[in-house]
Amino acid sequence: MVPAEWYLILAAAVFCIGVFGLLTRQNALLFLMSVELMLNAANINLAAFSYYWGNVTGQTFGLFVMALAAAEVAVGIGIILVLYRNFSAVDVTDATTMRW
């Protein structure tokens, strides 16, 4: 059996890839994908440790996280759509009418 620590390392790696993508990409859609990666890193942990602890709490919560990720993308795509209509681009660095 694969030791539990390996799952932690895998999840941390996936999470870091997500963070890296989020910091380096300017396309809003790629930003959304990076966030998906980070949420799925959480799901890896939840599923692996659900097995480790022998209860289904983690797996159940994993399902909730997936559903929420989908809902978040739905709202996010809507916002990116109005962004495109107003700025004619989906580049997150274009929208700078206000100061950061």
Partner: protein
């Protein structure tokens, strides 16, 4: 005597959810927004019902320790209704009611009014559930329920570039922080094998070496998720943008209700689930640093702003710093001792007062936007003689936010700083006092513009928006009434906070 089922204790949250659904129903029957009064009226009635339930439960002792039923656990402890939950639900209901009254005028001639009100209701439902969340799972889902409608509401003016940009930034940072939050929860679950706050606490206390580091990183990441919701450093970047670009009633809603909701769940999770000596990380030190940095950064940035709305946004970050003192000075002393609740309760009372004065201030900005007078301090010059009633109200808000003596904000800050001193953190109180003094500078700039400065050019105010006026004046009356009424508020807050501490 009628015996109510346990789930009836969720009435304040249920009332908001049902109102949201009723609004959608009205919209499907009458889709062309021809009755704005009906929509606004339904929303206001729904929030008042929610407020009524929360007030009634608080008064009758539901879920409270003193002369009540004790905390009511629902759905296998996933939710808990206690005094703190009801206190915060009352705050959310008040703010939501004010926002709905004000939105009636703000939304005139705009499409999608029913969607606006129902999104506000669903976000408020999420906040009400956040206050009752007793498991990391419900905390996460309620937080998202409050966040997702907020993103859409910020982008409500979809042909306005500022509004869309604000929403994008709010959404990007929100999505990032919810991913961090979810990963933190997964690490806490990895270390403890449970998501229920009480079980997490006992598992952390029994933790053996290996997983302590995992738990500590998890706790830090969970704190990050809450920092986003409360607009504290390091996830505060969205706040000035979102508050400036959003429709002003939504800015009021986000900066008052949404922030209070973040604090509600932050207080419960950290006091219940992460015992100081076993969490693997000294989170009190973390919040002390965050409190100092947040209030200093918020106040200094606010002092350099040119537009009133952005100044209020930074001042809102500053106030998040004050409220963080409640957790930063939480001593975790002997079980059940009174001192433990004192500073936490003062922080909750401050959030209630803040709910009135900050909502009122943003609604005054909404009024100014309605009149089209401009955004900077100079543009507000001479409003005092043209709109005396609203300007008096704004003056009350400004002095109350600054914490000048005869207003509600003074007492809540006094109790907060006194509580910090009692808990042995005099330096936190000192930083708070210095920041409050600084804040008087930029708050009084607004007052000076309103009453002293001469207007640059001649301008006429377009009409008198009744709803906005009513909301602004009501918020001012609330701020003033909290002066004689502060004793019961602080007593309630401190007793429910003491009940929270194990």
């Amino acid at each position: 005597m009628v015996v109510y089922p346990d789930w009836a204790a969720l009435a304040p949250a249920l009332a908001l959810a049902v109102t949201g659904l009723v609004l959608l129903l009205i919209d499907s029957v009458d889709p062309d927004d021809s009755r704005p009064g009906l929509l606004a009226g339904t929303a206001v009635v729904g929030t008042l019902v929610s407020l009524g339930y929360a007030g009634w439960f608080l008064a009758s002792g539901t879920g409270q320790v003193d002369g009540g039923t004790g905390a009511i656990s629902l759905y296998r402890d996933a939710l808990v209704v206690d005094g703190m939950a009801l206190f915060f639900q009352a705050v959310f209901a008040v703010v939501t009611a004010l926002v709905c009254i004000a939105s009636y005028d703000y939304l005139k001639e705009r499409a999608y009014q029913a969607e606006f009100y129902s999104l506000v209701m669903f976000a408020a439902t999420g906040m009400a559930v956040m206050a009752t969340a007793n498991s990391l799972a419900t905390a996460f889902i309620a937080l998202e329920l409050a966040s997702l409608p907020s993103y859409a509401l910020v982008a409500f003016l979809k042909h306005n570039r500022g509004s869309v940009e604000a929403s994008l930034k709010y959404f990007l940072i929100g999505a990032l922080s919810s991913a961090v939050f979810a990963f933190g929860i997964s690490l806490v679950y990895a270390a403890t094998g449970s998501l229920l706050l009480a079980d997490v606490a006992s598992a952390l206390s029994a933790l053996d070496g290996g997983l302590t580091g995992v738990a500590a990183i998890g706790v830090l990441m969970v704190a990050g998720g809450f920092a986003f919701k409360t607009a504290s450093v390091p996830f505060h970047f969205w706040a000035p943008e979102a508050y400036e670009g959003a429709p002003a009633p939504i800015s009021a809603f986000l900066s008052s209700a949404s922030k209070a909701a973040g604090f509600a769940v932050l207080f419960r999770v950290f006091t219940t689930a992460f015992p100081l000596d076993a969490a693997g990380v000294d989170w009190m030190l973390l919040f002390q640093v965050l409190a100092v940095v947040t209030m200093t950064l918020g106040n200094f940035a606010a002092a350099t702003q040119e537009t009133v709305k952005r100044m209020l946004a930074y001042s809102s970050i500053g106030h998040a710093g004050y409220a963080l003192i409640g957790l930063a000075a939480w001593s975790g002393g002997a079980p059940g001792s009174v001192e433990n609740g004192a500073v936490l309760g003062a922080s909750m009372a401050h959030l209630l007062v803040y709910g009135f004065m900050n909502t009122g201030a943003f609604l005054f900005v909404a009024l100014a936007e309605q009149w089209d007078v401009g955004r900077t301090f100079e543009d507000y010059a001479g409003l005092g003689s043209r709109a005396p009633m609203a300007s008096v109200a704004m003056t009350v808000f400004m002095f109350s936010l600054a914490g000048v003596p005869p207003f509600g904000g003074f007492f809540s800050k006094l109790f907060l700083f006194a509580g910090a001193v009692d808990a042995g953190f005099w330096w936190l109180a000192a930083v708070g006092v210095v920041n409050s003094t600084l804040s008087l500078y930029y708050y009084s700039r607004v007052v000076k513009a309103l009453w002293v400065d001469d207007p640059v050019g001649e301008f006429e105010l377009g009409g008198t928006p009744t709803g906005l006026y009513v909301a602004v004046v009501f918020a001012a009356v609330g701020t003033l009434l909290l002066l004689p009424g502060f004793a019961p508020v602080i007593e309630t807050a401190q007793s429910v906070a003491a009940a929270l501490v194990p």
